[in-house]
């Protein structure tokens, strides 16, 4: 499957949607604004050319969406002028243009040396994502002795960006130097290069996770479960959030209240007369939404027979 992102006018965008569905592809997300529609989708590799031709006919732009199907969280120490909107939002926009679903977090007490802390709430929120990207500062002493220690309890893949070159021992952290709280809007050449280094690190981390998933595959692909949920739970259409069923690498986030809809989600029918609970664990997210974590073949066995 090839993941792609289409940007064009709302007029005739449904031709593309129909084509994607006809060739056996999946629509991951569709975002409609008044003058622009952004569609992230997956199609079989052999049908990419048909999609390119259609995109040309309806005057849209097509790009590879290398980060499609991931939910990333971008964490900055604060929302002060030092960090936001530049470069925090510029970095987020870059990931979104590559197809990722990105959430933004500014820590309550992320600034300073001895005063910096990560709260239990922030830790829970961050750990629900596939990957966390942190932005730190310019002083080696601060990053080594305080900031890296602040995030050492996080049990997930992390990309850290800061200014000084450094070696980081923890295996789940990828460190990128050269980019920090400089008010860049990423339009000039050198700024783009630094941002590309971070994007490259994120891509490599996602690649590693996907390879690890190949060794012990998921019993069903997340996109299949997403389709079934969208077809069988009408309440999804009432959800106003963007991407009401958000794809992650090995799970889904459903933006409906856990207390009301958890049972409906658990009873969703999937292939071979099974229900969703046979393939995944349904749990409550920190904010009361529904998280569906798909099981691996080593635990639940293969659903497709030997």
């Amino acid at each position: 499957m090839e993941f792609m992102i289409y940007r064009g006018a709302p007029y005739k965008y449904d031709w593309l949607v129909d084509l994607v569905e006809d060739v056996g592809g999946f629509i991951i997300s569709k975002s409609m604004q008044t003058t622009e529609v952004v569609i992230i989708f997956a199609v079989p590799k052999e049908d990419v050319q048909k999609v390119e031709e259609m995109s040309g006919r309806i005057f849209g732009e097509l790009k590879s969406a290398l980060l499609a199907g991931t939910e990333i969280i971008m964490v900055s120490p604060s929302y002060a002028r030092h960090h936001a909107p530049m470069p925090h939002c510029g970095i987020i926009q870059n990931f979104r243009e590559n197809g990722a679903k990105v959430n933004s977090l500014a820590m309550a007490r992320g600034v300073g040396l001895e005063i910096c802390r990560m709260s239990a709430m922030e830790k829970s929120l961050i750990e629900e994502h596939d990957l966390a990207v942190f932005m730190f500062g310019s002083f080696e002493h601060c990053i080594k002795e305080y900031k890296l220690k602040m995030i050492e309890d996080l049990n997930m893949p992390i990309v850290v960006m800061a200014y000084p070159p450094m070696e980081v021992e923890k295996s789940n952290i990828t460190y990128v130097d050269g980019l920090t709280r400089i008010l860049m809007s990423f339009r000039k050449g050198d700024e783009q290069e630094r941002l590309n280094k971070v994007t490259q690190a994120v891509l490599e981390t996602v690649k590693k996770i996907k390879e690890e998933l190949k060794d012990d595959p998921l019993v069903v692909p997340p996109i299949y479960l997403k389709q079934e949920i969208e077809q069988q739970i009408p309440a999804i259409e009432t959800c106003l959030s963007p991407a009401p069923v958000t794809l992650k690498l090995d799970s889904l986030r459903i933006k409906l209240p856990y207390d009301t809809y958890a049972d409906d989600i658990k009873n969703v029918h999937i292939l071979n007369n099974k229900t969703l609970t046979d393939a995944a664990e349904v749990s409550r997210s920190y904010t009361g939404q529904i998280l569906v974590k798909i099981q691996r073949e080593s635990t639940a066995g293969s659903f497709f027979g030997e």
Partner: protein, 188 residues
């Protein structure tokens, strides 16, 4: 272009702050800056920043903003520049009290009980707006944008054409102040 001097034991931080200051200056577009001196100690920790500027813009006095008509017992000020009228009234209230200052019409302010030459002279020389104050505020905003966000404890000193800000996340020690003043060649 301003002169920029950054010193710290952390050499990479020096490079980073050169770029940070560059972008902040571009973003805030502060005029009449002369030089910026920075010293950063990441271990203590404290961060000192001295900003020098070229003094420009004279203080505006009552005589610059209005024309006076001296009467027997009071002075009628005919307002030329309405923009500063609120500041002017506030200043006159401070000096003479509200009961002696009357704005009878839109363009007239009467100050009662002032008729002798010496008093009139004193009235006309009252400073209404000092652009230097606004400028100091701009410079402090600039310094705060440069200084790391977590260093909320700040000590500010002014001297003529310079502002010195020493910041830390802890209580500022006397030795840091002395060291910064020496490093940044601060003459208080």
């Amino acid at each position: 272009m301003e002169k920029l001097f950054i010193e710290s034991e952390d050499k990479h931080a020096v490079e980073a702050y050169r770029q940070i200051v560059d972008y902040v200056l571009h973003d805030l577009s502060v005029k009449s800056l002369d030089a910026i001196h920075i010293y950063a100690d990441p271990v203590a920790p404290f961060f000192s920043c001295r900003v020098d500027f070229e003094r420009s813009g004279n203080p505006l006095k009552i005589k610059d903003l209005s024309t006076e008509r001296v009467g027997d017992e009071d002075v009628d000020l005919v307002i030329g520049e309405e923009r500063y009228l609120p500041d002017m009234l506030r200043k006159l209230w401070d000096v003479y009290g509200q009961d002696r200052v009357e704005q009878s019409e839109r363009q007239h302010v009467i100050v009662k009980g002032v008729s002798k030459d010496a008093d009139v002279e004193k009235l006309l020389n009252i400073v209404v707006v000092d652009p230097l104050e606004k400028f100091y505020e701009q410079l402090i905003t600039l310094a705060v944008d440069i200084i790391p966000v977590g260093f909320r404890v700040r000590r500010v000193e002014y001297a003529g054409d310079s502002v010195l800000v020493i910041a830390s996340e802890k209580t500022i020690e006397k030795e840091w102040i002395d060291y910064s003043k020496e490093k940044l060649q601060w003459n208080s």
